[in-house]
Amino acid sequence: MFSQLLSDIGILWSKYGTLYLTGIANTLILATSATLIGCIIGFLCGILQTIPYSQNDHFVKKIILRLVRIVIRAYVEIFRGTPMILQAVFIYYGLPYFFGVSFKDIWTVSIIVVSVNTGAYMAESVRGGIMSIDPGQFEGAKAIGMNHWQTMLYIILPQTLRNIMPQIGNNYIINVKDTSVMFIIGFSDFFAVHKMVSGAVFKYFPSAFMEMAGYLCLTLLASFLLRRLEKKLAGKSNYELVNIDQLVMTAGTYNYPDDAGSPFEEVNKDYKGEGQ
């Protein structure tokens, strides 16, 4: 039994090995690029959705911001609430129907569909991530004069990214698997290879076995790498004290400030604050 399976796999591999590998490469390229673009869409939605407005603002600004929120809401609900396989068909055949444009390049349409779908999920993850950040972080940024974009870009989103890394990983793994539905519009991913090969040589189970093992390897590798990335984002767990002069006492070993001044005041003679 088992030896039969092994020999069948051997046959498939020797004949179609490069096809399977190309399929894997296509799947990975599509899943990775679509997840990245989806993240960018999600973060953009997150920034746009949280632009604050108050009673005193100009009414045009208020209307525009409200409209932006409604559009994002609609986008999220539509793309989260319909199957991706249907979205692919809808966009692939729908656009020529209405606008007379058709996608010559199957890659473009695949990346668009998966990205837009991922973006809808990411928008919600990012929104949740932003809500979980301590309001003090926003106030600290505001207090030194940052505007909304600067606050988001340098303070809030880096922290959000760290917090929602597990969800990004989730989405990535889902994308590795679910890009298989793109065979419906003719994208030749890993699963499409199975359909093609097994149909040609009637070895359905051995091919399915290879696919199962292949997908599992991909997702295991992905979750391993994502964990590594998460750890890296968390930063170093220790730090080095910086003593510019070994003879200078460190904080806590002297009583600062007294009239003698801080021992550190000797260090930076090249810069003095304004009005000193």
Binding site: D134, E139, K142, A143, G145, L241, A251, Y256, K272, E274
Partner: protein, 247 residues
């Protein structure tokens, strides 16, 4: 008469139907160290947050060098860059090192090049005795150290006024001293203009040049610290000081 930096005119603030500040009027001059004292819930912190436009005013106006900044016509970000704020809960950016915390505002808001921003950050971190910790992240240092970094971060913007919102209230008792020492040195050695909401009566009495006592959203009494602490005019001020000084 010295130069007015901040003038608060008829400021009121209500959260819904609850009036927190009622018709507040006062002036901060260059070089003043003003402390705002009063019981919890008297509106001290809200006043400070209004001054930094973290809360919108219900009525009234705030003049910065004679210009109204509360009407929404002036860019609030560029105003905030000139008015530093130190929070009770530090609010250091947790995704950055101590050094980056003190550089980011200079680089992004004041558009100062990185090398200059680093020099400036180190200068002020030296001032608060935190220069050895530039590589640490905020969650790796103690509360008192965090607050000193927060002061350095505010100073690095070289603001004209520094607002302190109960800077020692969230600290363990043994760390209060190190933060107060830094503040004292800013007031006496650097002649920094400061507006301090605090429960530290010794700071109010010994360091500040002007004391404002608030009760129930109004300024009950204000004046010289020696006058307020030795010869308060209002009965409520007397009661408050008696209670807090006997603790």
């Amino acid at each position: 008469m010295s130069e007015h930096i901040l003038e608060i005119r008829h400021l009121s603030k209500a959260f819904g139907s609850h009036a927190v500040l009622k018709d507040i009027d006062f002036t901060v001059n260059k070089g003043d160290v003003t402390t705002i004292i009063g019981a919890s819930g008297s509106g001290k912190s809200t006043l400070l947050r209004c001054i930094n436009l973290l809360e919108t005013l219900t009525t009234g106006e705030i003049l910065f060098h004679g210009k109204d900044i509360s009407s929404g016509k002036v860019n609030s970000s560029s105003y905030r860059a000139k008015v530093g704020m130190v929070f009770q809960s530090f609010n250091l950016f947790s995704n950055m090192s101590v050094l980056a915390n003190c550089m980011i505002g200079q680089q992004k808001v004041l558009k100062i090049p990185a090398s200059e921003a680093k020099k400036r950050a180190l200068y002020y971190l030296n001032k608060v005795g935190m220069a050895p910790y530039i590589n640490a992240r905020p969650d790796q240092i103690s509360g008192g150290q965090k607050q000193r970094v927060a002061i350095a971060r505010a100073l690095a913007m070289e603001p004209e006024v520094l607002l302190f919102d109960e800077p020692t209230s969230a600290l363990d008792p043994e760390m209060v001293g190190e933060v107060l020492d830094v503040m004292k040195s800013l007031a006496t050695k650097d002649n920094m203009t400061m507006l301090v909401v605090t429960h530290e009566m010794s700071f109010a009495r010994d360091v500040s040049t002007h004391v404002v006592y608030m009760a129930d959203g109004i300024i009950e009494e204000e004046g010289d610290p020696s006058k307020i602490f030795t010869n308060p005019q209002s009965q409520r001020t007397r009661d408050f000081l008696k209670r807090i000084l006997n603790e």
